[in-house]
């Protein structure tokens, strides 16, 4: 029975692992931290799996557990050195020198998103994943109206980061 459970879990996680990778990419810098968080999310998913009844899709359930782990449970290890500010600064300089190509614009956007706080990041992540406001609200535990308002504010925030 437990072997069956294991098999079913691993196959489903393997098929949906992109979700976890994307969360790791948003919440960590560097391969070590990425792997650490991936592992912690896997452990949390596995621990919660026996209670997963299939009321929602496996992937929907993964979003919730994955984000919760990244936002609340995961302890950032010391070796994760935050090099983000430096990257952003150096990139801004080079962006002024050249034309704003799509590639550069995207890089700036990613950097801007990475500067957001944990909660804002979660909203952006769910938005990028095409989740509707109802799902966003339920995942974070806020109301639907407020998640809509908040998302608009984040868009403004990103705009100011991009065009100071």
């Amino acid at each position: 029975m437990s072997k069956e459970l294991e098999h079913s879990f691993i196959t489903q996680l393997q098929a949906n692992q992109n979700i976890v990778h994307k969360i790791c990419r948003l919440y960590t810098n560097g391969a070590d931290a990425h792997n650490d968080l991936f592992q912690e999310i896997t452990i949390q998913l596995w621990k919660a799996f026996p209670k997963f009844r299939g009321e929602s899709k496996f992937s929907t359930w993964m979003y919730r557990v994955g984000l919760n782990t990244a936002i609340t449970l995961y302890r950032k290890s010391k070796r994760t050195i935050d090099t983000q500010d430096f990257e952003t600064v150096s990139f801004k300089i080079s962006a002024e020198d050249y034309d704003n190509t799509v590639e550069e614009q995207l890089k700036l956007m990613y950097d801007a998103v990475k500067q957001l706080n944990d909660i804002d990041k979660a909203l952006v992540f769910l938005y990028l994943e095409d989740k509707n406001y109802k799902e966003i609200a339920e995942t974070l535990g806020i109301s639907e109206v407020n998640s809509r308002v908040k998302m608009n504010r984040i868009k403004e925030k990103l705009r100011t980061i991009l065009n100071p």
Binding site: E6, F9, I10, T11, L13, Q14, Q17, N18, H21, K22, D36, F38, Q39, E40, T42, I43, Q44, W46, K47, A48, K51, F52, W61, R64, V65, L67, N68, T69, I71, T72, L73, Y74, R75, S77, L106, M109, Y110, N117, D118, I119, D120, A122, V124, Y127, L128, D130, E138, T139, L140, G141, I142, S143, N146, S147, V149, K150, K155, L158, R159, L162
Partner: protein, 213 residues
């Protein structure tokens, strides 16, 4: 916002380029140990519960004998019983709150239940510190009121003391200074442990609450 739509398109394109873990990679992960903050809170909380419960079990017998001489052993016995009842209550609450932590809850609910669990233990610690302080004050008042009994006991143990008044003066000053110092140390320790573990959680909860305002 055009940029965000652009990002969305790219976000989806990048999905294909992501590293893929094999079945065996994931399998080995299942047996790794979690480093989650809840696990640490659990370990530290259990350590605190054991520490304080243990401490009251290991009060040396001789100090009970001394207190008997002061005629307060019955009061202390009563407080001990009440103390253990309170302990059991706290341990039950801790267990109940801990089992209520579910990673499948909404983020806000999850953070709230983690903080609630931690709060129970925090109150437990404060309760103990308060009891510790009260007993210290109570015993010193007792010593003061019955200083003749105190001097008698000290005399039996360490020989007769010539200047009783000066000795008592120093005795009480040392008692107070040591007591306050220990209290300060305890509170500082808990502030640190509590602060380090919960800072990020609290910030995120604040963010979520800000959204709802």
């Amino acid at each position: 916002m055009d940029e965000l739509e652009l990002l969305k398109k790219d976000w989806k394109m990048r999905e294909q380029k992501q590293p893929q873990l094999s079945y065996d990679d994931i399998y080995t992960m299942l047996f790794k140990k979690s480093t989650s903050i809840v696990k640490w809170i659990f370990i530290i909380s259990i350590a605190e519960l054991i520490f304080w419960t243990g401490l009251s079990f290991f009060t040396p017998k001789s100090s009970y004998e001394i207190l008997e001489r002061f005629g307060v052993s019955q009061i202390l016995w009563m407080t001990n019983i009440i103390n253990y009842l309170v302990f059991i209550g706290f341990i039950y609450l801790f267990y109940k709150n801990y089992t209520a932590i579910k990673v499948t809850d909404s983020t806000k609910q999850l953070i709230n239940s983690i903080i609630k669990t931690r709060k129970t233990v925090r109150y437990f610690v404060f309760y103990n510190v308060a009891v510790f302080a009260l007993i210290l004050i109570f015993i010193n008042i007792l010593y003061y009121l019955k200083s003749d009994v105190l001097m008698e006991i000290i005399g039996e143990k360490y020989g007769k003391i010539k200047d009783a008044a000066a000795f008592l003066n120093n005795f009480f000053i040392i008692q107070i200074v040591l007591g306050v110092f220990m209290l300060g140390l305890l509170l500082l320790f808990y502030r640190l442990v509590y602060g380090i573990l919960l800072r990020r959680l609290k910030n995120n909860l604040k963010e979520l609450e800000k959204i709802e305002m």
